[in-house]
Amino acid sequence: MASKHTIATRHAQGIRARFASRFLRSLLRVRRSSNRFGGSQSNDEGIGKRIRTDRIKIAAYAAMARAVGPRRTWSRALLFKLRNRARIHGVSRKRCLVSEKKRVTRNKVVAISREPSRADTLRKLVPGGDSMDTCVLLEETAHYIKCLATQVTVMQSIADRLLL
């Protein structure tokens, strides 16, 4: 009979492997698209590097959210946000800011007459945290932290391997 610990470890290894393969594929895609625009133009190098960094960062979060799947509130919220960003990014930057602001005011919780608790800070950090009650928030935070730590470890080991 498998104990809870072994099931959890197997589950963790599954996410790690799924995230790693998705992220590596995205990395190759980013490299291919950045090579296409010519890496030898000196005045574009600074901007190009920042764009590439942003793309890699988004690829990492997207790969992790997809590896987790839609069964967690935070991964659903993150996927939703990334899809909206991808959709709006093609249109215009300004419109993106306006629609983001509108979305925030709509989701705002009724104002409480005390100082913002630490739970409210946590809500801002965890994707989709605004619409969770405290119990769900704590659970989602625990899972989110585990996945974030896995993401960091995998990215670290990829970077180390690329250096050798």
């Binding site: 405290t134 730590a149 960091v152 391997r161 690329l162």
Partner: protein
């Protein structure tokens, strides 16, 4: 889902025990507190440490992204590193 029901209220259906349980679960995930004695840490401290930890992890992701971006720049199409990456995916 039923979680929408208690969005605005202070969660009447949740017991203190549940919250204590979840907070202790969170505590075990945090790298710092694990070394200290587990009984004496307040929930507020756990939440604070959690927020700091998440912020640190976000920052590490940013730094690693920049590092990977730099490394990606130096990889040629047919270099051994690209072969390594491809072999990791297969």
């Amino acid at each position: 889902m039923s979680s929408r029901r208690s969005r605005q209220s202070s969660a009447p259906g949740i017991t203190d025990d549940q919250i204590i349980d979840l907070v202790s679960k969170l505590r075990h995930l945090l790298p710092e507190i694990r070394q200290r004695r587990s009984d004496k840490v307040s929930a507020s401290k756990v939440l604070q440490e959690t927020c700091n930890y998440i912020t640190n992890l976000h920052k590490e992701v940013d730094d690693l992204s920049e590092r990977l971006s730099q490394l990606l720049e130096t990889i040629d199409c047919d270099s051994p590193e690209a072969a390594i990456i491809r072999s990791l995916i297969m």
